[in-house]
């Protein structure tokens, strides 16, 4: 296999065993980015000098007999809403360009760098993470490596495309309504949205404070697991971060699925979709022997509550700039924030009340099952600029429709892995969903699917 497609674990093993050097590996990644980024428009900042310095330090540690960590010399990149010391955190906006550089790395960036990973740059996204297509009017659209005329998904589109294009093996993103899972599915890579509170958001520009999650995208399950294990755990500096003890998932990867109660989401999660989206979920279900079909109660309303909550929280966060310089926002973001700013507060309070009732209802569903299977997106990657998605059941706004199946799970903070299911004309993803803080179950299932070839990354043509 070409070094470009090695996963992070394989790269780190080679570097720790001195079969490769961190400096050469980082240099090769920077060369690929220099050669290929113009095609995809993933990176908004490349940190070449810093990356070479860090890589030389990793090589020096190995030469002196010290272990730099499980990600020794592995290049990675992050959505440009994560703080990077010395770099201005754009969050996809033009407005933030005027901000001073961040003083320190975000919690998760720091965690991966401490484990020996080499940060090579910051990645494109929808403005303020409010979108599903990374059609950013300030920095241009990120293009899908599988078809350059199509969107990479969003809002972590730069992250999905950079991993799928082989520019880095691992990238970080955030997910409010699907912003890790949608680009993972559309670009054909694995994506983890952990339980709300599982991973610190310290040093991350928020979109919707009560809903935002941080997570990794990768080309293998073991990379996703390693990133999770390094990043999760308490952070007193993030009030949303759980105080639960760490629960690494790497030890359970090989445990298989024996004894797990796995069901397939029916009803809402089979409606208004391309047949291939349903087929991808059915392939996964068949491989898992999942014959039980369950309905997620009030999924439609769960999505509606999320629409209100995220819009209002985002509008509140940006109200000062909406007043002072509305013309500097991306049009797609601005109009939705302005509309939400005008909404009566009681509407938001009612949505938060519904959210709690919905959470309790779905929790009861997980009394009788361990893992739920559902498509990640109802449609494959839309073309850039595509407004509508026409399906057998009707015509839908393409961008918003991408979040149909992801939003009902993130609004109640459930952990979800989106796995890529190969064999279709364009990448397809399937969600594995569990009860809060049961990431270990998801990793057992994802690893099983990967071992059977049902879930796999396939390089772009």
């Amino acid at each position: 296999m070409s070094a470009q497609w090695l996963d992070a674990v394989a790269i780190a093993q080679a570097i720790r065993a001195r079969r490769a050097s961190a400096l050469e590996t980082t240099g090769a990644a920077l060369h690929r980015i220099e050669q290929e980024n113009a095609r995809y428009n993933c990176f908004t900042e490349v940190l070449a000098a810093q990356a070479r310095r860090d890589a030389a330090r990793v090589d020096a540690e190995i030469a002196s007999g010290r272990d730099p960590g499980p990600l020794a010399g592995v290049p990675f990149a992050v959505k440009n809403l994560f703080d990077i010391a010395g770099v201005t955190t754009l969050a996809g906006s033009k407005i933030n360009r005027e901000n001073p550089p961040a003083q320190r790395d975000a919690f998760v960036v720091s965690a991966l760098r401490r484990a020996g990973a080499i940060l090579v740059g910051a990645l494109n996204m929808d403005e303020y993470a409010y979108g599903f297509t990374t059609e950013n009017s300030h920095y241009g659209p990120t293009r899908n490596p599988h078809d350059l005329s199509r969107s990479a998904g969003g809002s972590s589109g730069g992250s999905g495309a950079a991993v799928a294009a082989g520019l880095v093996p691992v990238a970080l993103g955030t997910d409010t309504g699907g912003s890790i899972r949608v680009p993972a599915a559309l670009c054909g890579v694995f994506g983890l949205k952990p339980t709300f509170g599982r991973v610190s958001r310290g040093g991350t520009a928020l979109f919707s404070a009560s809903v935002d999650h941080v997570g990794p995208l990768a080309r293998s399950v073991r990379d996703l697991a390693l990133a999770h294990d390094l990043m999760h755990g308490p952070d007193a500096a993030d009030p949303s971060c759980s105080a639960r003890e760490r629960e690494p998932v790497e030890p359970v990867l090989g445990e298989g699925i024996a004894g797990l109660r796995i069901a397939v989401a029916a009803g809402y999660f089979k409606e208004h979709a391309e047949p291939q989206a349903i087929e991808a979920a059915e392939r996964v279900a068949e491989a898992l022997g999942a014959r039980t079909r369950v309905s997620v109660p009030h999924a439609v309303e769960g999505r509606a509550a999320a629409t209100i909550i995220t819009a209002v929280e985002g509008a509140g966060l940006h109200l000062k700039n909406l007043r002072a310089k509305p013309g500097e926002f991306d049009r797609l973001t601005r109009d939705r924030f302005l509309a939400a700013a005008m909404l009566p507060g009681a509407v938001y309070a009612r949505a938060q009340a519904f959210r709690r009732a919905y959470r309790d209802e779905v929790a009861r569903l997980f009394d009788s099952i361990d893992v739920l299977v559902a498509p990640t997106t109802p449609i494959s990657a839309p073309t850039i600029g595509q407004e509508l998605a026409t399906l057998a059941s009707g015509t839908f706004p393409a961008r918003a429709h991408l979040g149909r199946y992801t939003i009902p799970f993130s609004i109640i903070g459930l952990p979800v892995i989106s796995v890529p299911v190969p064999g279709f004309d364009l990448p397809r993803g399937v969600q594995l969903v569990a009860a809060p803080f049961r990431e270990g179950l998801l990793f057992r299932v994802a690893s099983f699917l990967e071992s059977r070839g049902i879930a796999a990354f396939a390089p772009p043509p």
Binding site: S210, P239, H298, V300, E301, A304, A305, T307, I308, A311, L319, L322, R323, P326, G327, R331, R334, D335, R336, L338, A339, A340, A341, M342, L343, V347, A349, R350, A351, Q352, A353, F354, R355, R356, A357, Y358, R359
Partner: protein, 65 residues
């Protein structure tokens, strides 16, 4: 679900809300804002007609003194 305000009423509301919030909105943006506002109201009405007694539930916003 009760009928939502018509587009003229929404446009009037947007214009009034602009003033109340101290926003300076390009008139060309108003139709799109009104459309997004309509979608938010639709979402709200979905919740109100869900059959869930929202008055009996504490909103899911955490405050720790």
């Amino acid at each position: 679900m009760p009928p939502l305000p018509d587009s003229a009423a929404l446009a009037r509301y947007v214009a009034e809300a602009e003033k109340a919030l101290g926003l300076e909105i390009d008139p060309a943006w108003r139709p799109a804002i009104a459309e997004h506002y309509r979608r938010l109201l639709e979402a709200h009405e979905l919740l109100e007609s869900s059959g869930v007694d929202l008055s009996a539930v504490e909103p899911a916003v955490r405050f720790e003194p």
